[in-house]
């Protein structure tokens, strides 16, 4: 495997004396999707926020596009091609989806998002105030912005949350296509079958630490991962073509 485009290494952070991150690390490679699993509250979102420069940490570093940061800032990372898709709150409530896409294209010169907008069933919502969108529509709109940015690296926090199974299938296909164009991605979530299908690498986060489990097939047979996260069911990994 080549060198990672994006890396968070050895991050440590506490909230009120409780260690949320303990030497947590995650890497993203060009053209590969890393799925980050873990129970609620285990530190996944905090790790992504640190990686995206939205929160500091007591120790650890962020590396992106050949630069190392002790305290990264999202605008700096974004200028080099990072896109952070938060679990909520990406869209400006004062702009329509069309205005978001226009701003994005104007500033970054990104890709034409219209095919993705149509594919995600958002064509009829382009001129509607995003504050009127349902949760699922908002999520699809946010993903369409990520596609429009054509980022070098995408950090997506629970992109499948609140999305119908059919839409999740489409989103999974969109993410695989982005990876196919060379985008390095880290995606968190609890939608195990969905994420296992699209991921190339699996990282399990527990009690603030990360465990790199290899491919989804390797992760599915990891005893500790099964016992500590997946549960007793049978997990088979079928690949989404990308």
């Amino acid at each position: 495997m080549s060198r990672p485009i994006f890396a968070v290494e050895g991050a440590g952070k506490s909230f009120g004396g409780r260690a949320v991150l303990k030497s947590a690390s995650v890497w993203a490679y060009a053209g590969r999707i890393t799925a980050l699993f873990g129970r609620n509250g285990c530190g996944k979102s905090t790790l992504l926020k640190f990686g995206a420069g939205l929160t500091g940490a007591e120790y650890g570093s962020v590396q992106f596009a050949g630069r190392a940061y002790l305290r990264a800032r999202l605008p700096d990372l974004a200028r080099d091609g990072l896109f952070y898709l938060p679990s909520e709150g990406l869209l400006s409530p004062r702009m329509t989806l069309r205005q978001h896409l226009h701003a994005l294209r104007f500033v970054t010169g990104g890709a034409d998002a219209m095919p993705t907008v149509e594919r995600l069933g958002l064509a009829g919502l382009l001129d509607q105030d995003v504050g009127e969108f349902s949760g699922g529509e908002r999520r699809r709109a946010e993903v369409s912005l990520a596609v429009a940015r054509a980022p070098v690296c995408l950090l997506a926090d629970e992109p499948f949350a609140g999305v119908s199974p059919a839409d999740a299938e489409v989103l999974g296909g969109v993410f695989r296509e982005m990876a196919g164009r060379g985008c390095a991605m880290v995606i968190t979530g609890h939608e195990v079958p969905q994420l296992m299908r699209i991921a190339d690498d699996v990282v399990w986060m527990t009690e603030g630490s990360t465990h790199h489990l290899g491919t989804p097939a390797q992760a599915a047979v990891n005893e500790q991962f099964r016992r500590g996260y997946l549960g007793p069911g049978r997990w088979t990994v079928a690949r989404t073509p990308g």
Partner: protein
Amino acid sequence: MNQVSLARRLLPYPPLFWRIARTTVVLWAAFHVALAVLGVVVPAPPASAVIVAVCAAAVWMDLARGDHLFFSNLGVSPGWSAWVAVAVGCALEVPLQIALRLLIVPA
């Protein structure tokens, strides 16, 4: 690799610039009207600086409240909006101070 150019960093998105400028003008005018109502027609330079600073802080908070994540993902920091507000505030305040001193203070 689709990096954001320097020109885009200085003036990333004109509609956002105009929104910030409009908000600053409205706030700045409101402050001056309020001061005039209180009898302070020609505020001293420290008061002018405070007016501009408060306008910048309000504009910064305005961006941070709803648009911060979206525009940060475009490489535009909320700090940029504050500097735009400072520039617009100074462009309004300095000529006003000069005009008021020329017109009112000698009288």
